[in-house]
Amino acid sequence: MNEIRCASGVDLLMDYLEGVLSADVYAAVEAHVAGCPRCIAFIASYRETPRIMREATSVGLAAGQQASLLSFLRAQRGFSADDN
């Protein structure tokens, strides 16, 4: 295969990290990254992106919202767990 550049390495990055590339392509990407400080830096930020986004958008359901969901569902179903 052709020599890997930063651009073609980025195209393959998720497949590279998920381990679904063929052995020769994987080795070619790895060889490029090992000698490329820009790709090392890029990959570090690419890998952190999901965690940062996950933690920044983590929301919880308040007790009041849980209660209102249950009331809604009981009203829709016309019975409650207590009827059993």
Partner: protein, 202 residues
């Protein structure tokens, strides 16, 4: 020995609920409500829409329990319903969505080399040290909303809900390779967006 209801697996609870056991249904609700709400918030970008989607999800789960055949895991089946419910509520506002994040995709010179220094290329990883937590939460939610829908859904399920690529493929009814392609593009846009955010002190 009777297995306590709280330890019963989803499929058994679903069978009991389908047979009319209200307590089993409510245990399913308790088990999944937080995850469905969080998923819906991330997909719609709105707490009000997420509450509507949450109600719709469990109403549909209840109505369709009898058709759950156990061909997929219960969680996968429920996530499919929840994703569709969130997208239904989101369509109403989709037309008002702001400009795309294409400008944040990585740039390269004519030789295919990254534009920017290593420090600049890594800056997204330090965004939490630079941007206030509350502002970052707002910006992150707004950025997810700006992703094209196909990328947004795949990214939210795979990276934010931390499902496996194959489970996301099953929920969306697409090939794992297509999931990776959609998630990858979302990650690239969001990485660039976070880099941009890290450069500007609020």
């Amino acid at each position: 020995m009777v297995v306590p209801a709280t330890e019963t697996n989803d499929e058994t609870l679903a069978a009991r609920a389908a047979a009319g056991d209200a307590a089993a249904f409510e245990l399913i609700v308790t088990r999944y409500q937080g995850r469905v709400y969080r998923l819906a918030c991330r997909l719609t970008g709105s707490e009000a829409d997420a509450m509507d989607a949450l109600q719709d999800t469990f109403l549909q789960v209840y109505r369709h329990l009898a058709s759950f055949r156990g061909e997929s895991r219960f969680g996968t089946w429920l996530y499919r319903i929840a994703t569709n419910a969130a997208l239904m509520h989101n369509r109403v506002r989709a037309r008002q969505r702001a400009e795309s994040l294409d400008a944040f995709l990585p740039g390269f010179d004519a030789a295919g080399v990254h534009l920017g220094t290593p420090a600049e290329l890594q800056s997204a990883a330090s965004v939490e040290e630079i941007v206030d937590r509350r502002l970052l939460a707002e910006k992150a939610m707004a950025a997810i909303e700006r992703l094209p829908e196909t990328n947004r859904v795949a990214f939210v399920l795979r990276d934010l809900e931390e499902m496996s690529t194959s489970d996301v493929a099953e929920v969306l009814g697409i090939e794992p390779a297509a999931v990776r392609q959609r998630v990858h593009r979302a990650r690239l846009m969001l990485r660039g967006y976070l880099s941009d955010l890290a450069r500007v002190k609020p």
